[in-house]
Each structure stands twice: as structure tokens, then as C-alpha cells.
């Protein structure tokens, strides 16, 4: 399966040139770009590992590209995403987030059901990969 988190996961994986164009868009909007990675792709896993701090004073997309590449080199089989943070009053949140790396094999998720009263099911979604300990999942 293909995890479709992030803004562009229904398109073919972005080339570095395409990634760079998106980062330039973020910089034009004065958003702070950051790189994060994880091997726990659960949809509610909010806090991925930060690969360094958000690049608040970055002016050239090349700086972000070198961070992305360093992260890929360190964690070649992890999910890696680029976030763009907007500190404008009333937003103060991520305005764009997209994947720039994914494991070669994505085994997907197990859905567990537990029967409860009145035909209610309790659902639990678990990435198959998280059966392994962190660092050995992909």
C-alpha cells in the first residue's frame, strides 16, 4: 500500500526539482521550513522526530534541500516530511506539509475490532511495521 499522508501523496513521488519549487513557494510566503522523520506512520502520530530546528531565517531553498538530503542519508528508509510553519497572527500553524521520502516497502496497517455492546465496534489501527522496535521497522 501507499501511505497518502501529506499534500502530494497521490502524485508520483516529487523530484528534487519539484521539492525545491515547493520550498521556494514557502519562503516567498515567509514560512519557516522544517524537516521531520519517523518510522511510526500511525495517522495520529503527531510528533515526528525533528531533524534540526525549523529554518526561520532561511532565504535560499538550497539550505533546506541540503537538510532534506542529510536526513535521507541518515534515515534512508524512514518517512520524511517537509513542514512549513506560518507565524502570522491568527494562523500560527503549519500551512503546508508533504512527504519527501518513504520506505521502499510500505506494509500498511492492521485494523483490529473489539466487539462492544449494541453492535458497537472499537477500532484500533496499527502500522504492521511498529511490531518491530524503533529503528528496525523498515
Amino acid at each position: 500500500m501507499r501511505v497518502t499522508q501529506g499534500a502530494f501523496s497521490f502524485l508520483p513521488d516529487l523530484t528534487d526539482q519539484q521539492i525545491r519549487a515547493q520550498i521556494e513557494y514557502c519562503l516567498r510566503n515567509n514560512w519557516a521550513v522544517s524537516v521531520e522523520y519517523t518510522d511510526d506512520i500511525h495517522p495520529r502520530n503527531t510528533y515526528w522526530e525533528m531533524f534540526g530546528m525549523p529554518m526561520f531565517d532561511l532565504h535560499d531553498a538550497a539550505g533546506a534541500m541540503s537538510e532534506i538530503n542529510a536526513c535521507r542519508k541518515t534515515w534512508p528508509k524512514h518517512y520524511i516530511r517537509v513542514n512549513a510553519f506560518d507565524s502570522t497572527l491568527g494562523w500560527e500553524t503549519v500551512r503546508l506539509s508533504f512527504l519527501v521520502n518513504r520506505p521502499p516497502d510500505e506494509p500498511g496497517f492492521r485494523l483490529r475490532r473489539i466487539e462492544a455492546q449494541g453492535r458497537v465496534q472499537r477500532y484500533e489501527v496499527e502500522p504492521y511495521a511498529t511490531g518491530e522496535r524503533a529503528g528496525r521497522r523498515y
Binding site: 500500500m1 501511505v3 497518502t4 499522508q5 499534500a7 502530494f8 501523496s9 497521490f10 502524485l11 508520483p12 516529487l14 519539484q18 519549487a21 515547493q22 513557494y25 506512520i41 500511525h42 495517522p43 495520529r44 503527531t46 513542514n83 512549513a84 497572527l89 491568527g90 494562523w91 500560527e92 500553524t93 503549519v94 500551512r95 503546508l96 506539509s97 508533504f98 500498511g108 496497517f109 492492521r110 485494523l111 449494541g118 453492535r119 458497537v120 465496534q121 472499537r122 477500532y123 489501527v125 502500522p127
Partner: protein, 487 residues
């Protein structure tokens, strides 16, 4: 305007003599009045009867929507009546429409109970629309003073927190309404929900009139829909949702359905506008207490928002709903099957999303409105739209909108999943291209055709619906610009 008929009678023995005075003479026409920062302001479009002059008609609107009755009453003198009288302070002809006038009216803040849309509307639209000296009236816009705004709690979730909860940023959200609207059993209904979510939509939606009918009781629908949501989430790794419509005959029943939706793990519930203002504010409080997104379907609004001469503009309804506290609001598509001039519709979007809305006459915004930190409402564009219009929709409305393709998903020739995938690919390709600096308004069709090269479902969608547009003249347009139509 200085004629005796328009001048307030200041001599109290004459002013309070038993009998009938003109509204202007009673003090409801105050051309020198300067509204204060804390006044509630309302702009009415009025069509006076033959022979009724516009200043008197405006004064009558001010009177009938505040303290007046048809005759003089001495009991006014037991109150600080000057304070409680609404003041009509300006009348001007509507451009290119000789029978209609804009009447500008100011209301003292003390006239309104804090945090109650029911009370606000009982004054502003309570009696006045039936008033005989007017052929017709329409409430065009309102300015809610910051002091009043802060008595409301507003959206329980808002755009920012909704996106953080869903972990979806930088693109419009995608939805669809299950079709056919009525008649599917719970099991078949859930099938449509699963297919659409698995194929790439973020949300599926109950329609406004899906409640608990003989063909599908509400519990059955909730159970099958949450099975579909959970399966689709496991199949994609994304947070998914289905707007469970909890609209019911009583508040007790609505709370019961809301609690069951919560028990099943739904992220969102929905109500229809027809449940009424008090019910909306109550369920909004419940949503705030339970971390639930509240989707509002504006069922019924067209009966009073569409015609320019009569009713309440939807921009006013949107303002009231932002105060009352909804998270999603259907605000029109401009390009789809339902009424909506593009600029006018953009005005509604601004009301939902701005921190401060500025005066913008072409978009129908007559006042500056400070929202005082109230959360932003996510607008929803739904009704007769398809993947081939993606560039127009994103160009008109930007990223913070839910685009809902019902027929455009479920009617896809290759099936519902393919329909959903077509929409998602079209969406992502268009956003990617826009961010790269391309002019999507003009290059949109080419961008979509290129994306379709790696996505057969998108190609099929473009082929199926390429000639579909709903190109009719809008009825509700600004009087301050010529109205272009969108092909």
C-alpha cells in the same frame, strides 16, 4: 430631509399627545447621528410602497425593529427612550434600481442580550419584514461591534485546529455527499462511504434530509459509516471522517445521537440550519466540550437569501453562524449547480475566514467587521462541481475550503474509488502547479490533462464531464460592479 414630516418632534407635549405620528417624527430618523463603536449596525434594502418616502420608510424599519409601535405611547416616558430607539441615519438609492433604497440603521448595544443569536434576530428581523408600508425588505449586511462579538464563543474547532487534528495542510479538503440522498440501507450506504474515503476523499457527508427514516435508522447508519471510516483510515494511513447528521426533532434526541457519534470515535457531526439558532448554539457548546468538529448544512437558506429584494443576505447568516459557533459552513461554489455570483460568494468566504473583514462593496461587504479572535469557519463548496473545474475552484477560494464532489465522485464511470482518486489527483496537481508559480486560472485545463497522463480515473472524469457547466445569471449580485459569469 428638513421637511416637517422628517423632523423629530421635540416639544414633549406634542410628541406624547395621544395619536399617531410619523416614525421620523417619533425620533427614528436621525440624519445627524454618528454611529458609535459599540452600536450594532444594520443595512436594509427597502422597497417602500408607492407614496411612502424613503426617509420615513427607513425610520419605520428602525422603529419596528426596536422600540416603536404604530401609535404614540406615554409609557415611553418611563424609559430612557432616546437610548433604546434605533436610529435610521442614512438613506441612499440603490444604484440602477429606482424603487429600492439602502437604509442604514444603528442600534444601541444594550438592546441585545449577550451571546444570543435568537435575541439578536428577534429584534433585527422579528417584525419588520411584514410591515405594510414596505413592499419588501432585505437585511443586506450587519456590523457586530467587538464588544458584542466577545459575548459569543464562536466555532468550537475552527480551521487551524481542524487541520491540526486531521494532520492535513496546504490543500483544500475533499468531500462528497452520499447519493442517492434517500433510500439506501445502512449497509449499502456505508459501502459508498468506504469507497469514497478509500479512493482519496477526506470526508463523506450525510445529506441534509438523512435523519432516521424507515429505510435506514440512525444507529445503523452511524455503525456502518464508522466501519467505513475506520477501514479507509487503515487502508490509507490518513485520518478520515464522515459527517454524521444528528439533526432530529428534539434537542434530547440530538444529544443522544451526538453522544453515540462520540462513542464510535467520529471526529465530526453535522446539523442542518433548520434546527434553529438556539439548537445550533447548544450543540456548538456540546461540540466544544467533546472535541467534535461541527458541520453546518445551510438547508432552507435559499428561501430567504436568494432574492435581492427580500429576506436576509447569506453574508448576514454567515456572520450569525460564525458567532453562534459552527466549524464548517456551506457557502456556495460559484461554478456549480446552485445560485452564486463569484464575487458575492467570495464575500461569504471572507466572512468565514477573515480576522478582520474590510469594506468590499463588489463582494457585498458594507462594513468593516472585527472578529475579535473568534476562530475561523471552514467554508464548504458543494453542489454540482467536478474535477474539470478544480483550477477554477482553487483560484476562487484558495486552500482553506472543503470541496465536495458528490455526483462528481459517485457518478464516475469507473466506480466510486476511481471518482475519488480523480478528484484527489486533480486537487494535488493543481495545488502543486500553483505553488510552482503557474497561472492555474488559465493553465488549469492543461495542468489537469498532464496529471491525467498518470491517472486514468482523472482522464475518465475529464472526458465524462468536460462540457458540464451551469452558466445561468445569478440573482444575488452586488449593485456596485458589473457581474461576470463563470463558464
Amino acid at each position: 430631509m428638513g421637511s416637517p414630516g422628517h423632523t423629530q418632534v421635540l416639544d414633549t407635549s406634542k410628541r406624547y399627545a395621544a395619536g399617531v405620528l410619523k416614525y421620523a417624527q417619533m425620533g427614528y430618523w436621525q440624519p445627524d447621528y454618528v454611529p458609535t463603536e459599540s452600536d450594532v449596525l444594520a443595512l436594509f434594502r427597502i422597497t417602500p410602497q408607492e407614496g411612502v418616502d424613503p426617509e420615513e420608510a427607513a425610520a419605520a424599519v428602525a422603529g419596528e425593529s426596536s422600540t416603536a409601535t404604530w401609535t404614540v405611547v406615554w409609557t415611553d416616558r418611563l424609559t430612557a427612550c432616546e437610548n433604546y430607539r434605533a436610529k435610521a441615519y442614512k438613506v441612499e438609492p440603490v444604484p440602477n434600481n429606482p424603487s429600492q433604497y439602502f437604509a442604514w440603521i444603528a442600534y444601541e448595544l444594550d438592546l441585545f442580550e449577550e451571546g444570543s443569536i435568537a435575541n439578536l434576530t428577534a429584534s433585527i428581523i422579528g417584525n419588520v419584514f411584514s410591515f405594510k408600508p414596505l413592499k419588501a425588505a432585505r437585511l443586506e449586511d450587519m456590523r457586530l461591534p467587538l464588544a458584542y462579538v466577545k459575548t459569543f464563543r464562536g466555532p468550537p474547532t475552527g480551521i487551524v485546529v481542524e487541520r491540526e487534528r486531521l494532520d492535513k495542510f496546504g490543500r483544500p479538503l475533499l468531500g462528497a455527499t452520499t447519493k442517492p440522498k434517500l433510500g439506501l440501507s445502512g449497509k449499502n450506504y456505508g459501502r459508498v462511504v468506504f469507497e469514497a474515503l478509500k479512493g482519496g476523499l477526506d470526508f463523506v457527508k450525510d445529506d441534509e434530509n438523512i435523519n432516521s427514516q424507515a429505510f435506514m435508522h440512525w444507529r445503523d447508519r452511524f455503525l456502518y459509516c464508522m466501519e467505513a471510516v475506520s477501514r479507509a483510515s487503515a487502508g490509507t494511513g490518513e485520518v478520515k471522517g464522515h459527517y454524521l447528521n444528528i439533526t432530529a426533532g428534539t434537542m434530547e434526541e440530538m444529544y443522544k445521537r451526538a453522544e453515540f457519534a462520540r462513542e464510535l470515535g467520529s471526529v465530526i457531526v453535522m446539523v442542518d440550519l433548520v434546527v434553529g439558532w438556539t439548537a445550533i448554539q447548544s450543540i456548538s457548546n456540546w461540540c466544544r466540550d467533546n472535541d467534535m468538529i461541527l458541520h453546518m448544512h445551510r438547508a432552507g437558506h435559499g428561501t430567504y437569501t436568494r432574492q435581492k429584494s427580500h429576506g436576509v443576505s447569506f453574508r448576514v447568516i454567515a456572520k450569525w453562524l460564525r458567532l453562534a459557533g459552527v466549524d464548517h459552513l456551506h457557502t456556495g461554489t460559484a461554478v456549480g449547480k446552485l445560485e452564486g455570483d463569484p464575487l458575492t460568494v467570495q464575500g461569504y468566504y471572507n466572512v468565514c475566514r477573515d480576522r478582520v473583514s474590510e469594506v468590499d462593496l463588489p463582494r457585498g461587504l458594507f462594513y468593516r467587521q472585527d472578529w475579535g479572535g473568534l476562530r475561523k469557519v471552514m467554508p464548504v463548496a458543494s453542489g454540482g462541481i467536478h474535477a474539470g473545474q478544480m483550477h477554477q475552484l482553487i483560484d476562487l477560494f484558495g486552500d482553506d475550503v472543503v470541496l465536495q464532489f458528490g455526483g462528481g465522485t459517485i457518478g464516475h464511470p469507473m466506480g466510486i474509488q476511481a471518482g475519488a482518486t480523480a478528484n484527489r489527483v486533480a486537487l494535488e496537481a493543481t495545488v502543486l502547479a500553483r505553488n510552482e508559480g503557474r497561472d492555474i486560472r488559465h493553465e488549469g485545463p492543461e495542468i489537469l490533462m498532464t496529471a491525467a497522463r498518470h491517472c486514468k480515473p482523472l482522464q475518465a472524469a475529464l472526458d465524462t464531464w468536460k462540457d458540464v457547466s451551469f452558466n445561468y445569471a445569478s440573482t444575488d449580485t452586488s449593485d456596485f460592479v458589473p457581474t461576470p459569469s463563470v463558464a
